[in-house]
């Protein structure tokens, strides 16, 4: 069990009204933003469960857009995030979905389109108290809490790939605190999520992408 800090109890400092429906929603969208490598031009939010029924009253929509813009959970610009998104040239669309079986009650699918045409998507759930879980990336079911910095690698599941990934982290002297591989059974590509202690850099990411059988790598820096 993670130890509670006094600031978990008296805090977080956040824009209201709800830690799960406002602050948590923003955190999911902020991770969606980090999947994009070029400028984001449009975003589609598909809302499930309680997100779908109460999103306006909780400012969930504004918080999600604020996350796409990279705001912190206590940033007053969340209030006018639709205006800021328009100024940034980002189109946003919201859809209220029928509840899907097995999805957590507060769930959102976020599909991000970049100016170079790249489309990526994540599914995230706000699981209470502002804590989140990313449960799907580009169609692959995964698990990532967004608490630690992480490198998400898409690779062909061939012998030696995992070792070559681990080698890069060793060379750059970054400790992997947790590594999980998802969607190995599929023919196309598997996803590895490597949660790390500390920070990773551009050079490391480039080295990673040059490895054989690695399709792409994304760095998600949350702290």
């Amino acid at each position: 069990m993670r130890e509670l800090s006094v600031f978990d109890i008296i805090g977080p400092i956040m824009i209201g009204p709800s830690s799960s429906h406002t602050a948590g929603a923003l955190k999911i969208a902020r991770i969606a933003r980090k999947l994009a490598k070029s400028r984001i031009i449009s975003v589609r939010f598909q809302l499930y469960g309680s997100f779908a029924t109460t999103y306006k009253g909780h400012g969930t929509d504004r918080a999600l857009v604020g996350g796409i813009l990279g705001y912190a959970t206590d940033d007053y610009r969340i209030r006018d995030s639709f205006d800021w998104a328009q100024k940034a040239g980002i189109d946003v669309v919201f859809e209220e979905m029928e509840n899907e079986i097995d999805a957590h009650p507060n769930t959102v699918d976020i599909t991000v389109t970049e100016e170079d045409g790249t489309v990526s998507s994540i599914r995230g759930a706000s699981v209470g108290g502002g804590e989140i879980e990313i449960t799907r990336i580009n169609g692959c079911d995964i698990r990532y809490s967004g608490k630690n910095n992480a490198v998400i690698v898409q690779q062909y599941d061939k012998p030696g790939v995992i070792a070559s990934i681990a080698k890069i982290f060793e060379v750059f002297n970054v400790n992997i605190s947790n590594m999980s591989v998802f969607c190995e059974e599929k023919d196309e590509a598997a996803f590895s999520i490597l949660e790390i202690d500390g920070d990773f850099n551009e050079l490391g990411m480039e080295a990673l992408c040059r490895q054989p059988n690695i399709l792409s790598a994304m760095y998600i820096k949350v702290k």
């Binding site: 109890i9 400092i13 109460t54």
Partner: protein
């Protein structure tokens, strides 16, 4: 265990620690934080001062700004109370003012204002309301108020660790109930109460709210949350005053009360734990209200 001399996991351990070192609860919580998270004391205290200032700002702006609430089920009650008390006096003195401030913070929260969850957003009015009213009435300085928040944090930590602080899990007793317990203990320390007195006040505050359900109208953090925060304030101050007056005389110690709160919370039906499927949320009068309608009334 390198942090053994500063760590505690329940009220009994906290009390033993405080008595052994002859320190107040706030000091024990600061020492735990510094040791546990390898922070320096100045950083930890500065961060809590920042939190205090966010609380102050949420009270202040709820009294001075025109707020546009997201749901519109509530709005303006805090200012109405302040105006009423200006004309007619406050029957409850500091309690009334603290309650009005707490209600304002919930309005501020519902209008996408910046708040400090304490321990949650839905119960975020209790601590700031009391701190603002106490500051106004008794002129406590920053140092005292920051210490008060560490004291409150210790109580919330024990509840969160050994029970729950989530309305979805434990009902409103776990949110406003916890906030009220935190505030009761905090007030005792502000007025010189010993750690034992603080813990008695915290236990009494939860005991008084045992079983309180979470039934948000429209699923939003507005009503009945706002007035329950006012109730949490009055319950906290009364519990503190009783504990200070009696030297913390109470039958059931804090740890046992926390266990009871958790068990009661688990036995509250799902419909009455933040789902808006029962309680006030499904009464005939509010069933057909749409967010926004409550305030304007045009659709009635």
């Amino acid at each position: 265990m390198k942090n053994k001399s500063t760590d505690f996991t329940n009220a009994a351990e906290l009390l033993a620690l405080c008595e052994r070192k002859d320190i107040p609860i706030s000091e024990a919580m600061i020492q735990r934080e510094v040791a546990k998270f390898d922070d320096d004391r100045a950083t930890v205290e500065a961060r809590m001062l920042k939190t205090l200032n966010v609380m102050r700002e949420s009270v202040e702006r709820s009294q001075t700004e025109k707020m546009k609430l997201l749901g519109g089920y509530i709005g303006g009650e805090s200012k109405d109370m302040m105006n009423y008390m200006k004309k007619n006096g406050a029957m409850g003195g500091t309690i009334s003012r603290a309650a009005a401030f707490a209600m304002g913070v919930i309005e501020w929260n519902a209008s996408m204002g910046r708040i400090a969850a304490a321990p949650t957003a839905g119960s975020a009015g209790v601590l700031p309301g009391i701190l603002a009213a106490m500051e106004e009435a008794y002129h406590f300085d920053d140092e005292h108020l920051v210490r008060a928040l560490f004291n409150a944090g210790a109580i919330g930590y024990i509840i969160g660790r050994n029970a729950t602080l989530s309305g979805a899990e434990g009902g409103c007793q776990a949110e406003v109930g916890a906030a009220s317990a935190m505030a009761a203990s905090m007030v005792c320390e502000l007025f010189g109460g010993s750690p034992a007195v603080c813990l008695a006040a915290a236990g009494d505050a939860i005991s008084n709210i045992l079983g309180l359900i979470c039934d948000p109208i429209g699923g939003l953090v507005e009503s009945p949350c706002q007035k329950r925060n006012a109730m949490g304030v009055s319950n906290a101050i009364i519990s503190a005053e009783i504990a200070l007056a009696t030297g913390g005389r109470t039958l059931v110690p804090f740890d046992e009360v926390v266990t009871v709160m958790y068990n009661v919370g688990r036995s509250i039906p799902y419909q009455l734990r933040e789902t808006a499927l029962g309680g006030l949320a499904t009464t005939p009068s509010v069933k057909n209200l749409k967010p926004g309608c409550a305030a304007c009334g045009a659709c009635k």
